[in-house]
Amino acid sequence: MTPFTFARAHDAHEAVRLGAAAGSKYLGGGTNLVDLMRESVEQPSTLVDVSGLSAGIEERPGGSLWIGAAASNTALAEHRIVRARFPLLSRAIAAGASGQIRNMATVAGNILQRTRCTYFYDQAGSRCNKRQPGQGCDALDGANRNHAVLGASSACVATHPSDMCVALAALDAVVHLEGSNGARCVPFLDFHLLPEDHPERETVMQPGELITAIELQPLPMAAHSSYRKVRDRASYAFALVSAAAALDIEDGVVKDVRLALGGVAHKPWRARIAEDALRGRPAGFAAFEAAAAAELLAARPLRDNGFKIELAQRTVVAVLGSLAARSAARS
């Protein structure tokens, strides 16, 4: 591991001051960054430990839920408000990683984790535009079974690995940032970027900016929501495909819906086309199938991952179907 200086920040202001130096990186739980440093993919000159900053989770006046950036994944998943009002978020977090990693990992760190593309990790032996801009992409014609089918480019076909972020995308979360120029907030859906010609740019964050909190606005329909993850083994594996959904059915008709997909793109994929296709339609298998197909019309398979398109189709239908069945059971 390349030598670095370690500094602990005691508040966001101090963190931003320390993080402004070139080569600085913020350290949360370390579950991804320490691993990447060991692989020499990340070589910060200074680590600013922000894991001791705000970890509170609280309801704000107006009803929004304020989540401190340093809250652990476990703390968010087990929080009584999250379980009651945003069960898809609790379930998405519980679907990710292992108990140990969820205890260490922070909410902000989860959002900023890097892709698990093996070519990105293989610093010594593979080309990667994300790791070294302009180098080329060995995943494009390589072993790309785990890679993207939506929104990819010829420069990068990597996926965002988070489960939690899929739920945040469905919930229209807001990301609060602090930098040397002050504080700002960004809609979660605009926070991550598609790769296009610059896959090294993964978010809209400016150098030195720090995530201070995530905010969730009230969304009553999210009380009836779920997260479904499909993977190669029953637990402790990244998603091949996942879907977070909330469904509001009235008199058998889809009144409103939120749907996001994981494992299919460079960012958590909000399925707006499917949502638009569903609103006002009779809630049922035919509508769910048609909506999923409409969303996936733009999907493009690589050599090894064509199965993801049908898998995503079926996962969407399954998660919406289970929510519809529960809705019918309640009424």
């Binding site: 060991r38 087990e78 260490m104």
Partner: protein, 186 residues
């Protein structure tokens, strides 16, 4: 005035000085600096759980992905800290009785992870297989244990013995005994 206090953390009840080099992982600190070789290095990349230790009581973490300096002032318990006064921890005894291991390499991580898991279950932390998220009292079951322990791999495949050991330990734990009547009468 500059203080010259040496940064420390506590390991199994003893206060020890942190390494000067911030690159040292908590795992290497335990094994190479303190000669506490009970905690095992399996993958060194967060994939196997062999390095699991407990922080500040019963919070389980992976020591391979932890920088030792990040744990300044915290209390670490490794497998060496489980036995008390020369007597094995009841969970260690249960592993022996139920053949919860073969080669034993994953066992220190399994033990620490299982104690952390039991605390999470008592606290009502939901898992991916928990059916009802509103339920604060989550029932101990084989499915829950297998899901919650999925971060600890055993290449010998002693999983059935491990689940049996955890089940016996759970049934014998005082917290469970106190809560049992309320749950069993319904």
């Amino acid at each position: 005035m500059q203080s010259t206090v040496i940064p420390t953390l506590t390991v199994n009840g003893a206060e020890v000085a942190l390494p000067g080099d911030p690159r040292v992982s908590l795992l290497d600190f335990l094994r190479e600096h303190l000669q506490l070789s009970g905690t095992k290095k399996g993958c060194d990349q967060g994939a196997c759980g062999a390095c699991t230790v407990l922080v500040d009581g019963e919070k389980r973490i992976l020591s391979c992905l932890a920088l030792a300096v990040q744990y300044q002032g915290r209390a670490i318990t490794s497998v060496e800290g489980l036995a008390q006064e020369g007597k094995l921890h009841p969970l260690q005894q249960a592993f022996i009785e139920h053949d919860g291991f073969q080669c034993g390499y994953c066992t220190p991580g399994q033990l620490c992870s299982a104690l952390g898991m039991a605390a999470e279950l008592r606290r009502g932390v939901p898992s991916y297989v928990t059916v009802d998220l509103s339920e604060q009292d989550i029932a101990f079951s084989s499915d829950e244990v297998r899901e919650r322990m999925s971060g600890n791999l055993c290449r010998c495949g002693a999983y059935n013995g491990i689940v049996a050991a955890l089940t016996e330990h759970h049934a014998a734990s005082p917290q469970h005994a106190q809560r049992q009547p309320a749950g069993e009468t319904s």
